[in-house]
Amino acid sequence: MKRRHLLQTLAATPALLPAQQTNPSPDENVVLTVVSPESAGLPVRRFFTPEQFATLQTLADLIAPSLDGRPGAKDAEAAAFLDFLLAKSPRDRQVLYQRSLDTLNRTARTKHQKAFSELGPTEANALLAPLKVKWTYAAPTEPVAAFLRAAKADIIRATTNSRAVAEANIAGRRRATGLNPYWQVIE
C-alpha cells in the first residue's frame, strides 16, 4: 500500500473500540470518508512496452524534475498516467509517442550503446536538443521534435494537475490550485 494512502486510511478510520462505538443512526444523510481509486491501488500499465515506458519515465524526469521541495513528474507518476491517457488517445497521437520513444531509445543506443533510460543526465539532455528551438505556432514537422513538444506539455500538465503537487502546495502553504466547479451529467 502506498504511504500516502496509508496515512489517509489511518486518519479516516479511527480504531473502533466498543466503548467509542457510535449508535446506529436512522438518518439518511450520512457522510462517509472515501478515497479515489487512483489513491487506493497501483495503476496497471496497458499501453507502452517496458522499454518505451522506461524511456518515457526518464524523459518525464528530465522535463519536470522535483525542485526546491516541489514534486516532479516522478512524484506525480506522470509517466504511468500518460500510459493510461495514451491508451485512450487517437491513433495518430499514439503512433507519435510510440515511434518517437523508440527513436529516442535507438539514438541512445547508437550514440552511447545504452538505453535512453540508462544515460547520464548530460547525454540524455543532449538528445532533447530539438526542444531548444524558438516556439512557432505550427508544430515541428520532424516527428521526434513534434513528439518532444507534445510530451513536454503533457508531462508538465500531468505533473501540475497531480495530487502530489496539490498536497505539496497545501503543505507548503502555497495557494491550492486546480479546484474548480465540476458539472455532473445533466439528464
Binding site: L62, L67, L85, R157, A166, G178, P181, Y182, W183
Partner: protein, 530 residues
C-alpha cells in the same frame, strides 16, 4: 390533453429565444417555448472538485470533443455531444461547431463581451463596395441597444467613436496598472485607439436568470425542455407556418403543436438547418427560401488567440511595485475607416482583446527541467497578451447544406458546413500581428511569441449568416424585422439573420434585434396583420 392556448411558439431558450419570451410574455402574449436540451440545476449539477480527482487529471477524455477546444474535463457535460449530434465538413476545411444544448443555450457560458455594431457594419457596402448593406441603420437599432445594455448590466467606457457606438453602460472608471498605462501610451503614439472592456456583469448573465424568470412570472410562458424540433409544418393553402413537429429527447416519441406565429431562435446553424429540413411543395428547397440564399453567406469572426505574448521585464521575479500588473482592455477596429479604396491590402479590420498579469505557457520557452522551472517562477504573473478578432467576409460559397445521409441520434438530417478563411482574413491577421508586436515593443515589453494563425472557422463561437436579412427579397430571407419575406408568420431571431458582422461579439446585437422584431410583431398583431 393539452389545451393549446398559446399565441406564439418560440424555438430555443438562449439569447434570442429568451429575449423573445421576455418581451412577448410581458406584453400579454401566450408563449410556448420548445427547447431541445434539459434544464440545468446549478445546485444539483455543480459541485467543487479538485483536478487530481478527475479521471483524466484535467486532460479530458481523449477524443470526446474533437471540435470543442473550450471544453474542459470540469465542464464536459455542458457541451453538446458530438456523437449524438454529428455534422460534417470538407476534410480539408475543418469547421469547429461549438454548441450547448441546455435550457439557456450558450448564454450559460458566454464571455459577455457586449459591443454595439456601427454603421461601418450596417452600411458596409456603401463604405467599401463589398457585400450587402443591412436593411437598417444604427439609428434604427440604437433605442433597442439602449434597453438591452441596462438589463444585462453592461459595464465599459463610452468614447464617442463612430466605429464603436456609445452605450448605456455602467461606467468603468477603474484605474490602470502601470504596465497597462505603458501599453496604452504606446498605442496612442501609433494612433491606435484603446478602451476598457465592455461586458455584461453579475454572477450569471444568462437567459435563465435575466430573461426567463420575468417572462414566466407573467403566467404567459410555458417552457418545454427536452423538445427537439424536427420540422416546421406549413399550411398548403396559405403557405404560412401552421405547426411545429418535435421529438422528446429522452423517449424519442414524436409530437406536434399548432403554431399561429413562430419565432425561431435555435442559434445560427440550427435554425437554418431546421428551415432547410422543412421542405414542402411550396418550399421545395427549404422553408422561406424563394431567394435561394438560405444556408449561404456563412461567416464569423476569425480569432488569432494570443497573437502576441510578451513579458513585462520589471515584473520578472515578482519584483516591481504592487500596481505594475493587471487589467484588460480593447482596441476597436481602426483600419480602413475612410470611405473608398482600402488603405490596407485587405477590406475592413480587426479588434484586440488584451490583458496584463497572466503567466505565459511553458510551451513558449525553449527550455525544460530545472531551467524551465526557474523561468516559470521568474515570469509568473509577468505576462501580457493580445488576441485578435477579425472580420470575415460573408461569401455565397460558405454555406450550410443538409448532408444526404448523416443523421443525428433522433433521425434528423445533419448539416454539412463549409467555410474557410481567404486572403482577406489572412492579410488582416498578419497586419494585426505586426502591429501588435510594434505596440508591445513600444511599451518596452519583451515579445516572447507572435503568430498570425487563426483558429478554424466556428471556434470563435460567433457563427453568423445563412438566413440573412435584406431589403431585396431576391437576395435575402428576412426583412429588417427578422420576418421571413416569404412566410409572414415566421421570424428568425438569432445570428443567422446577420448580413455581415464586423469584429464585435454578436450577442448584444442579437438581443437588440430580437427586442425590435418582437415589438414589431406586437404592433402587427395589434393591427390585425398577423
Amino acid at each position: 390533453m393539452p389545451t393549446f392556448n398559446h399565441d406564439v411558439v418560440i424555438i430555443g431558450s438562449g439569447a434570442s429565444g429568451g429575449m423573445a419570451a421576455y418581451i412577448l410574455a410581458q406584453a400579454g402574449v401566450k408563449c410556448l417555448m420548445l427547447e431541445a436540451g434539459p434544464m440545468v440545476d446549478f445546485t444539483r449539477h455543480r459541485s467543487m472538485k479538485a483536478v487530481y480527482d478527475l479521471p483524466f487529471r484535467g486532460f479530458g477524455e481523449p477524443g470526446r470533443f474533437p471540435h470543442i477546444t473550450q471544453a474542459s474535463e470540469f465542464d464536459a457535460n455542458l457541451w453538446t455531444d458530438e456523437k449524438k449530434n454529428p455534422y460534417s465538413h470538407p476534410e480539408s476545411d475543418p469547421y469547429y461547431w461549438v454548441r450547448i444544448r441546455l435550457l439557456g443555450g450558450k448564454t450559460l457560458r458566454w464571455g459577455r463581451a457586449s459591443w454595439r455594431l456601427s454603421d461601418y457594419e450596417f452600411k458596409g457596402k456603401d463604405h467599401d463596395g463589398w457585400g450587402e448593406n443591412w436593411p437598417l441603420t444604427l439609428a434604427d437599432l440604437a433605442p433597442f441597444y439602449d434597453r438591452v445594455e441596462p438589463l444585462f448590466r453592461v459595464s465599459g467606457r463610452n468614447e464617442g467613436w463612430p466605429q464603436l457606438p456609445d452605450g448605456k453602460l455602467l461606467a468603468d472608471d477603474s484605474t490602470e496598472s502601470l504596465s497597462m498605462e505603458r501599453f496604452l501610451a504606446s498605442a496612442k503614439k501609433l494612433g491606435v485607439p484603446t478602451t476598457k472592456p465592455r461586458r455584461a456583469t453579475g454572477t450569471l448573465a444568462s437567459s435563465v436568470n435575466l430573461l426567463l424568470p420575468a417572462a414566466q412570472a407573467t403566467g404567459n410562458l410555458t417552457i418545454v425542455p427536452n423538445a427537439i424540433v424536427r420540422e416546421i409544418g406549413v399550411d398548403p393553402k396559405t403557405g404560412l407556418v401552421n405547426a411545429v413537429h418535435y421529438i422528446d429527447r429522452r423517449s424519442k416519441r414524436e409530437y406536434t403543436v399548432p403554431a399561429k406565429t413562430l419565432l425561431l431562435g435555435a442559434s445560427t446553424l440550427e435554425s437554418t438547418r431546421l428551415l432547410l429540413n422543412s421542405r414542402s411543395r411550396q418550399y421545395p428547397t427549404g422553408l422561406a427560401n424563394s431567394s435561394g440564399v438560405l444556408g449561404h453567406y456563412l461567416f464569423d469572426q476569425f480569432y488569432v488567440k494570443n497573437t502576441v505574448t510578451a513579458i513585462v521585464p520589471e515584473a520578472r521575479g515578482g519584483k516591481g511595485p504592487r500596481n505594475l500588473m493587471g487589467g484588460a482592455g480593447y482596441v476597436p477596429r481602426f483600419t480602413n475607416l475612410k470611405p473608398g479604396k482600402p488603405e490596407k491590402n485587405y477590406l475592413r479590420g480587426w479588434a484586440w482583446d488584451f490583458g496584463s498579469g497572466g503567466t505565459p505557457s511553458p510551451e513558449l520557452f525553449p527550455q525544460w527541467g530545472d531551467e524551465l522551472a526557474r523561468t516559470m517562477a521568474d515570469v509568473q504573473g509577468a505576462g501580457f497578451s493580445m488576441t485578435t478578432m477579425g472580420e470575415s467576409l460573408p461569401r455565397f460559397e460558405h454555406k450550410l447544406t443538409i448532408h444526404p445521409t448523416l443523421r443525428d441520434e433522433w433521425g434528423i438530417p445533419a448539416p454539412h458546413i463549409e467555410q474557410r478563411y481567404t486572403d482577406n482574413e489572412h492579410n488582416m491577421a498578419k497586419d494585426a500581428m505586426e502591429t501588435g508586436v510594434a505596440l508591445c515593443e513600444g511599451a518596452g515589453f519583451e515579445v516572447l511569441a507572435a503568430h498570425s494563425q487563426m483558429v478554424p472557422p466556428g471556434e470563435s463561437i460567433h457563427e453568423l449568416g445563412t438566413c440573412r436579412m435584406g431589403a431585396d427579397a431576391t437576395k435575402s430571407v428576412l426583412n429588417s424585422f427578422n420576418q421571413a419575406h416569404d412566410v409572414k408568420n415566421l421570424f428568425v431571431l438569432d445570428g443567422s439573420a446577420f448580413p455581415s458582422g464586423g469584429v464585435q461579439n454578436p450577442t448584444l446585437t442579437i438581443l437588440a434585434l430580437t427586442v425590435r422584431a418582437t415589438e414589431y410583431l406586437l404592433a402587427q398583431k395589434k393591427q390585425g396583420k398577423l
